[in-house]
Symmetry: C2
Subunit: 410 residues, 2 copies
């Protein structure tokens, strides 16, 4: 039921990155690849952001520690499995995650700490190391440059389709390539520990600068989507820059190419983040919530998330029902203490629904219904008290959402 989720177009190989996927049978019933290995050229910079959950999964803790140990420089491999999150597995889970890194290290002749592990899937069960070990060996012997689509498929859990995108930019006579992939089904899958996203580029970027770019991109992409407000134990977003295109290294915001590379990364991250929402569980609508006229970013986000996560608004969206009362309720409870509601206006796409806290004179219910009947639309709120603007993306709440989440194990 994904909403306008495109089949990946051409996915360019990225110089300095080799990959392979295979079927380890991590979920015994698995009928598709569930393990993905990406090897990075020596000297690659890597930056990552991870879930804020207190229940961080073992691979998250190990990846964070490895990244820190190498200070983002010279990380050499990403090992990603689906089917098992290796979360809520305690000390044994940490040992297992480190063990998988050691296999990769041995096969590629690098340090175990140069490998970053990622897992997504069922919580509370240990990884089937016996089934994974031989597959990792096979993958490390069959690495190739052109395998992004297989990788995007191997990391899927309940996603209805692979999510990947590729871009190239010209910089000072050289072509830089960016290819990214993500998996989601929302932050919401029953047993699943869910969102993973990766972008690899052959640009050359210093680790601390890559971290800045990652933060810039995250704040405009993965940190602006919500399906139901639930956050998983395994969320991770990682950017790797191999430097293999041979372009000059970007050492700081003043370096030539900084803006272009940062923009390309942000665009890809936003596209991948929106793909995750488009493929949200049971999604029948893709909704942009834009809140403008706030005093600052924080209050715009507060209102935007309250609207985007309100079950009332989300069921109205499912029904295509332009129900001003529900938006008004959500804005009202969003927690801005001194909000003057007589300054608040609301649009559905270009249809003005309310102005000054009241239904607009020009508004006709059929106009609102026409907008909300579309698979994609924008809800725009003007708070009328400042100049800050924020956007978040979300999906609706459907019968299918309840079915998927209620029937998963029954």
């Amino acid at each position: 039921m994904a909403v306008n989720l495109p089949t990946p177009d051409i996915l360019h190989p990225v110089a300095g990155a080799l990959m392979a996927t295979g079927r380890a049978g991590i979920k015994k019933s698995a009928t598709r690849d569930d393990l993905c290995l990406i090897a990075l050229a020596p000297g690659s910079s890597v930056a990552g952001v991870f879930t804020q959950s207190s229940f961080k999964a073992a691979p998250v803790l190990v990846a964070q520690s490895h990244l820190q140990q190498w200070q983002g420089q010279d990380l050499r491999a990403l090992l990603i499995n689906s089917g098992n999150a290796n979360a809520a597995t305690g000390e044994l889970g940490l040992t297992d995650a480190r063990e998988t890194c050691a296999w990769v290290a041995q096969a590629l002749d690098i340090e175990a700490t140069q490998v970053l592990p990622f897992s997504t899937g069922v919580i509370g069960e240990r990884l089937p190391l016996d089934r994974m070990a031989p597959t990792v060996r096979t993958l490390s012997q069959s690495l190739q440059s052109d395998g992004w689509l297989s990788c995007a498929r191997a990391i899927m859990t309940t996603d209805t389709g692979p999510k990947a995108v590729s871009r190239q930019i010209e910089l000072d006579g050289r072509t830089l390539t960016f290819t990214g992939m993500a998996k989601g089904a929302g932050m919401i899958r029953p047993d699943m520990a869910t969102m993973l996203a990766y972008i690899v580029t052959d640009a050359s970027v210093a680790p601390d600068v890559l971290t800045q770019m990652l933060q810039h991109a995250t704040a405009r992409s993965f940190n602006r989507i919500t399906i139901d407000g639930d956050t998983s134990t395994n969320d991770a977003f990682v950017i790797a820059a191999t430097g293999a295109a041979g372009a000059p290294r970007i050492d700081g915001p003043q370096s030539p190419g900084y803006d272009e590379v940062c923009t390309a990364l942000t665009d890809i991250a936003r596209t991948l983040a929106q793909y995750i929402v488009r493929d949200g569980e049971g999604a029948t609508r893709f909704i942009e919530v834009c809140v403008e006229g706030g005093r600052n970013e924080t209050e715009c986000l507060q209102v935007a998330y309250t609207i985007a996560e309100s079950p009332l608004v989300k069921t109205a969206a499912f029904a295509g029902d332009p129900n001003w009362g529900r938006f008004c309720m959500a804005i009202g409870r969003s927690g801005i203490a001194d909000l003057d509601t007589t300054g608040v206006s609301l649009w559905l796409d270009d249809v003005c629904v309310a102005r000054g806290g009241l239904l607009a004179d020009s508004y006709r219910e059929e106009d609102g219904a026409r907008v909300m009947g579309q698979p994609e639309f924008q809800v725009r709120v003007d708070l009328g008290r400042g100049s800050a603007v924020e956007r978040v993306w979300t999906s609706d709440f459907s019968y299918e959402y309840v079915r998927i989440n209620a029937e998963y194990r029954t």
Copy 2:
């Protein structure tokens, strides 16, 4: 689909309170009473708490102003309508609400400001004053002491049944009576601006003391329930004390009877609050979430509400699926920055599911499934870092929830 919502038992008349209900046709299609008038004896104390929404409905603003003007003393009437919330109606809505108070005042020969108006129903439409005026006149001429069940029915919107309860206590040789009613369907009804609750007693309580008791009761009842986290524009909880039983006035916490009256009010408020959850839209389960071992009340509530409002947990509850991963996810994202998850334990009723952040050795899935298959159960979390305890009550997310909220206007 209400979960163990009892039909009201005997509802005792309360000395000093007279009431009447009628059908004004506020919703043109209405087939039941939609207007309720309660007259209070001279000298009655009244205390109220109201929605925190920025979009407060007109009657909320008027009732707050009237209460303040009389400092909670000598309020004489409550006028409650269902079918129309008089919310998001601007200045005209305020004028309308004041107009309805003026009718009651004229009929009962009191001041308009001694009347508190309440509305629940569709947002964004003006009250049909022409249809309401004659009904108010009729009601004021037909007041009687025994009509609580009719009142509880007249304030319903999408509630599947009336919610009311009555208690009597003996105090120093006198019988004090407490009768309360509430309407809900959750905080969640599509067009509805929803929760209203009233308790009337013939105890004699000074207004400031009644306000203290109201706060005590609210913190243990209406402020501890959630159906989907959405808060309406019209929520109100009001306690009136007529003093007509002739018992000595309670002037402070040291007065004889303070504890007994406060406890009775709190018990009734908790019962009514739980009735609202039991009758939550589409509810098939009634769930108590108890969080203990927190450092303070705030963090216990943070965890309790995150569990109670997680769509993931709520769909698991609908399915009767004892999914430890979902509770673990909710606890993890509840925002306690320094939570040591190795101290966290979880029970479903008396079945220990997890201990020290890991699945308990003794745990068997069928035991968890047995508990979550019941219409009522408790989820208990021990954070293992303090001695604070908090409880909230919630319901599940079902197909019916989506249907009710999606199909309301289609």
